[in-house]
Each structure stands twice: as structure tokens, then as C-alpha cells.
């Protein structure tokens, strides 16, 4: 029974890609440009005489205000700056450190590889954010410390992937050929392996950013994120007290919605791209 392949049409990125991408562009753009946009001051109090805050969403305050009559819209934007910044910094750090460790381990093998692999295993043994919280608690709660603490948690998954990718590529002929020609390890690393390992790691980047934003949100919700300034998690925490939540849900739901849309967009783009690069033939029957 013949298996005809479905006609492979030229694949173009459809709305499934551009819709979430659009949101990402908007949110990142707004976050970057916040200082120059005509937004209200997130720390300013906009109390209306006679009415007790929080005020529901209105033309004046698109997302309403919080219990201290601060404008939610500008607070969410200001929170975006930190949440996104932490997300990207964390990913950058964990990928650079984890990726390097993994690739070198995969290439050099021997005791170094065993050591690094065990290190990864140990890092992976700490559940959830436990180790991260510990570090933050012991040092301080600056953006840098938080990013580093989160990045430490990400080193192991990234490193393992880099190592596995390196291992599978290092066996291939072109690396052996380079070696025979006398190339030193560092050269092999950069010229031959790096381009090939980067591709599977690239898929992990999106997931990493989403995870980092999520993790920072969790920390902030616990009250363990930065002390001054806002992040999405902190805003959500602020709106989650029993009374506030029950009577004025928008205080929490505003940042929840924005955070959810951002994470969902990242995840959706990730799914979409994975499907996009995975063209399979349609077989007839089974």
C-alpha cells in the first residue's frame, strides 16, 4: 500500500504565531519605553475625596487602582520592567554558565564530565524554589541576587541538554575530522559544536524565559522579591488579601491577566515553532 506524502506547501508563519508574538512585542515595547510614555506615576496616590480606594477600572484608570489609590495600569507596566528584566537576565546567565559547563563536559569527558554531571544532579535534587529562596534569604533581595539565585536553578537543565547535544554531535565525523587535523579542543568547541548545539538549546530559551518570569512571580508572591519597586508577583500578592480579593478583585486580576497573557504567548509561540519545524508526512491508512 503506497504511502503518498501530503503536498508540502510553502510554510508561512500564520496568525497562530503573530498573535502571541504581537503581544510580546507590545508588552516588551511598553516596558522598555515606559519612562517616556505618558503614564501616571506608579507611586502616586490618586485619592478621590469622599470615596475609599480601591477604585474600579474607569476611563481615568484603565485597570483601576489599588487599596492606596495608586494607578494599576502604570504599576503593571512598571512591574513588567522588572519581571521581564529578571526573566531575561536569569535565562542569559543560566544559559551561558550551564551551556558552557555542559558543552565542555560533553567534549572533554573524563573526571570533569563526571564531576559536572554530579553537580547537575545535586542541583536538580532541590525541589522547586527551595534552594533559590535559601540563597536570597542569606544574601539580599536585589535584582541581581534574585537573578543569580534563579539562574543557579536553571543551570542544571540547560547544562544537561547542552551536554547531551554535545555528546551526540561529538561522535559525528566532522568533529573527528577536525580532531585528526589537529584542532585543539577550544577550536572544536567554537567552530564545530557550538553552532550545532545552539539549535536544540534555542528551543529551551523560550521555555526558560517563561519559567524565570514564573519563578520570580512566585518569589514575589511569597514576599521574597525585590523590596523597592514592583513586579507582577508583588502586585498580585498585594491584591490577594481576603478582603481586597473579595470586594475589589481587579487589583489582583489586572496583573494576573497581563502576566498570564505574557506567559501564554511565550508558551504558545514555543509550541507553534516546534510544530512548524516538525513537518510530518501524512500517511494513508495506518
Amino acid at each position: 500500500m503506497d504511502e503518498s506524502s501530503g503536498a508540502v506547501k510553502a510554510r508561512r508563519l500564520g496568525p497562530g504565531f503573530w498573535l502571541p508574538m504581537g503581544w510580546i512585542i507590545v508588552i516588551v515595547g511598553v516596558a522598555l519605553l515606559a519612562p517616556v510614555l505618558p503614564l501616571k506615576d506608579p507611586t502616586d496616590y490618586f485619592i478621590r475625596p469622599g470615596e475609599r480606594p480601591p477604585y474600579p477600572p474607569s476611563a481615568d484608570h484603565w485597570f483601576g487602582t489599588d487599596q492606596d489609590a495608586r494607578d494599576m495600569f502604570s504599576r503593571i507596566v512598571s512591574g513588567a520592567r522588572v519581571s521581564l528584566a529578571v526573566g531575561f537576565m536569569t535565562v542569559a546567565m543560566s544559559f551561558i554558565v550551564g551551556g558552557t559547563l555542559g558543552m565542555v563536559a560533553g567534549l572533554v569527558r573524563g573526571w570533569f564530565d563526571r564531576l559536572v554531571s554530579f553537580l547537575f544532579l545535586v542541583l536538580l535534587s532541590f525541589p522547586g524554589l527551595v534552594f533559590t529562596i535559601l540563597i536570597i534569604a542569606l544574601i539580599d533581595r536585589s535584582v541581581l541576587t534574585i537573578s543569580v539565585a534563579l539562574a543557579i536553578g536553571g543551570i542544571a537543565p540547560v547544562g544537561r541538554l547542552a551536554r547531551a547535544a554535545t555528546l551526540s554531535f561529538a561522535e559525528r565525523e566532522f568533529v573527528i575530522a577536525a580532531r585528526t587535523l589537529g584542532a585543539r579542543n577550544s577550536r572544536i568547541l567554537f567552530r564545530e559544536l557550538l553552532p550545532n548545539v545552539v539549535i536544540p538549546m534555542g528551543a529551551l530559551v523560550l521555555l526558560g524565559v517563561a519559567t524565570a518570569i514564573l519563578a520570580e512571580g512566585g518569589l514575589a508572591f511569597l514576599g521574597l522579591s525585590i523590596e523597592k519597586g514592583e513586579t507582577w508577583g508583588k502586585l498580585i500578592r498585594n491584591g490577594s488579601g481576603s478582603r481586597v480579593l473579595r470586594d475589589s478583585p481587579w487589583v489582583a486580576f489586572g496583573p494576573i491577566t497581563v502576566m498570564f497573557l505574557t506567559l501564554a504567548s511565550i508558551n504558545y509561540i514555543g509550541d507553534y515553532l516546534r510544530g512548524f519545524f516538525n513537518v510530518r508526512e501524512t500517511g494513508l491508512g495506518q
Partner: protein
């Protein structure tokens, strides 16, 4: 064919169409045949001929989007109707009609013990207890010629060799004493030395159980001397249907003739070139009005292009779908005319000797 009792299996004008992105594919385009109880039939064809789809139709294994037409009657029951109803007649397939697949490596569940996979059918269909089913599984393993059956019951498929695995598959298929066994390329994935053993095994089992069998294969050599009848399929249609010896001694259809020619013969002179059939089987999204084999047939005339030949009886149970079967005067005339012209009515180039040009110059090399 003129049996006093009705045939066990009766297929009339079976058509199976698959909707696909490139169009409607007519995998099976009007196939009819009968099979008596205890009889064996070989269905022979290239890939794409529709033989596997026919087999799957008999076994109710087609995907849900397949469109089926025609009638399939097993022991007086309408199989198509039964397939449509989900609930009743749960115990037909797997019990009365059973199937053996091509690759035993993938047909067996890798994480289940061999004995369990054999016993499964009897427990599910016949309600036997675990111990009784296990005992029966052991018996079956013995019947299919597996040494130390007791030990094998608890092994996993990956612990057995290819030949043993296929025997296990056969044992599982026979568990509920089917009256018809369909074997789809049962030996194609196996070593050549093992192939003969498996085929012999199937023959023995058939004889002992009085079971009917359909042997689906691309290899004419597999059916020679083993089946009672052979049906040759091409492009979803029956080209020839005859008792096995007739197919080998006196082919009716040019396609069958060409197939026989492709089989290397052990007593040919050395360096005899192999004779493949030029061209490819058609992709059947638009069934031709004429004969589907015309493009590759050395006898092709304008009549062949214009009109699809019906399946006509030549006597002695021999049916051929051809306007001018091999050996008839009409065929000889057509061939001579084509050879003289240098090509057939479809443009296939013919050598003076009557052999199609594409067949010779492929350079398939020496027979060593």
C-alpha cells in the same frame, strides 16, 4: 468456484477510497473473489496494488475516514454491516478471522510477556481463566514449533529471534481457532532461511486445522506450490485469478507474464540480465478509463487505452482482465505490430524482439 455449498468468503466489487490532500486515492477499485472453506489463496501485487488494503478491509482495520463500497460476505454474514455496528458481533475478528502481520518485531507489544499476548485472545473472547489460557498458550507455542514452550511464555519479545517472534504472532492469531487466516507478507521481514520454515509451518497448520488462508505478498515465489489459487492485483484491480499452477505454467495477463519474467531462474545461463517491468505503478487518484497496466504493457493497443477490460473467464477457474490474454492470436498480432512500430499504443518503446526498451537498459547488472 462452483461449490455445492456457498463459499466461506465472498467479495464482490470491493472499492476502497481514501480522501487525501492530493485527491481521492482509489486504493481498491472493484475487486471480486471467492474463497472456499479450507482453501488457500495468494494475493500478489506490487506495493500500491491494493493488496494490503483489501486484507485490512476484510479485517476491519481501515481508518475511519476510508470510504468503502461493495460487498464482503463471510459465512453468510455481511462484514461491512458488522463493522459499522460497534457493539454486536464483538467476537468475529480475532476469533473466526485472524491476521498475521509483516514485521513481528513491531507487531508484538514490547512490554508484555509473550505468553500473555497469546492468551489475551482466549481470555477476552472465550472467557477462559488465566491458568487455562496460559496452558493453551503453551500448547500453541508447541504447535508452532517453538522449543521449550513453558519457558518462552514468560519471556518478552525482544528476547526472541525474528523467526521465533513470527511464530508467536502466528500462535496468537490461531488462539481462537479461526476459520480464515490472513497473512500479510508474513515472511518479508525475516531471514531467507527462516522464510521457508514459516511458510511450511503455515501450510502444516492449515492442513491440520482445515483453515482457509489468504497469503498477501509481492513475491510470486512465495505462493508457488503452496496456495490453491492466486489473484494478481494491480492498481487496485484484479488482473488475473487462477489456480496456482496455471499462473505459473500459462499466464493469462501480460502483467503476470512480466512478473514471472522478473523472477531469476536458477538454471538460466550466467550473466542473463534480469528483466524488470519498466515504469511505475500509477498513483491512483484518477483511475484510468482504459486498462491500468496499458502504460507498461508490451501488447497495448488503442482498445486497451480506450476500454477497461472486464474480468473474463478462460475456463477451468481461470479469469483474466485483458482484451487479448497472453497466448491468444490477438495478443501475438498486437505484439508483432508494436514491435514493428517500435512502440505501443501508449508510447512504450519496444525492442524488435518484443521486449520493452526500459526493461533492458536499466543496467541492473549481472546475475552472479
Amino acid at each position: 468456484m462452483t461449490g455445492r455449498q456457498a463459499p466461506l468468503l465472498s467479495v464482490r466489487d470491493l472499492k476502497v477510497v481514501f480522501p487525501t490532500p492530493i485527491g481521492m486515492v482509489h486504493a481498491v477499485d472493484g475487486v471480486s473473489f471467492d474463497l472456499e472453506a479450507g482453501q488457500s489463496m495468494g494475493i500478489v501485487g506490487e506495493s500500491g496494488s491494493g493488496k494490503t488494503v483489501t486484507a485490512k478491509t476484510l479485517m476491519n482495520l481501515l481508518p475511519s475516514y476510508a470510504l468503502v463500497d461493495g460487498s464482503v460476505n463471510f459465512d453468510g454474514r455481511d462484514l461491512r454491516a458488522l463493522a459499522a455496528e460497534r457493539k454486536t458481533e464483538k467476537h468475529l475478528w480475532g476469533v473466526e478471522i485472524s491476521m498475521v502481520f509483516q514485521d513481528p518485531m513491531t507487531s508484538l507489544n514490547p512490554v508484555k510477556k509473550v505468553g500473555e499476548q497469546i492468551a489475551e485472545s482466549v481470555r477476552y473472547h472465550l472467557g477462559q481463566t488465566r491458568t487455562a489460557a496460559r496452558r493453551q498458550a503453551g500448547d500453541l507455542l508447541e504447535q508452532v514449533g517453538i522449543p521449550e514452550p513453558g519457558r518462552r511464555l514468560d519471556e518478552y519479545p525482544h528476547q526472541l529471534s525474528g523467526g521465533l517472534r513470527q511464530r508467536v504472532v502466528i500462535a496468537a492469531a490461531l488462539a481462537c481457532e479461526p476459520r480464515l487466516l490472513i497473512a500479510d507478507e508474513p515472511t518479508t521481514s525475516l531471514d531467507v532461511t527462516v522464510q521457508k520454515h514459516i511458510l511450511d509451518l503455515l501450510d502444516d497448520l492449515r492442513a491440520v486445522r482445515g483453515m482457509a488462508m489468504i497469503l498477501v505478498t509481492h513475491d510470486l515465489g512465495v505462493v508457488k506450490g503452496r496456495t490453491d489459487e492466486v489473484m494478481v492485483m494491480y492498481a487496485g484491480r484484479t488482473m488475473e485469478e487462477a489456480p496456482t499452477e496455471a499462473v505459473f505454467s500459462q499466464q493469462g495477463h501480460p502483467y503476470t507474464e512480466a512478473l514471472i519474467e522478473t523472477i531469476p531462474k536458477i538454471n538460466s545461463a550466467s550473466h542473463t540480465r534480469l528483466v524488470p517491468i519498466p515504469g511505475q505503478p500509477p498513483v491512483t487518484t484518477s483511475p484510468p478509463t482504459g486498462c491500468p497496466f496499458a502504460d507498461r504493457c508490451r501488447y497495448a493497443t488503442d482498445l486497451c487505452v480506450a476500454q477497461g477490460p472486464p474480468l473474463t473467464a478462460l475456463g477451468n477457474g481461470h479469469h483474466v482482465a485483458c482484451h487479448m490474454p497472453v497466448g491468444t492470436p490477438a495478443a501475438e498480432t498486437a505484439l508483432v505490430a508494436n514491435a514493428a512500430r517500435g512502440h505501443t499504443a501508449t508510447g512504450l518503446e519496444i525492442h524488435q524482439s518484443g521486449v520493452p526498451i526500459g526493461a533492458v537498459t536499466d543496467g541492473l547488472g549481472e546475475q552472479s
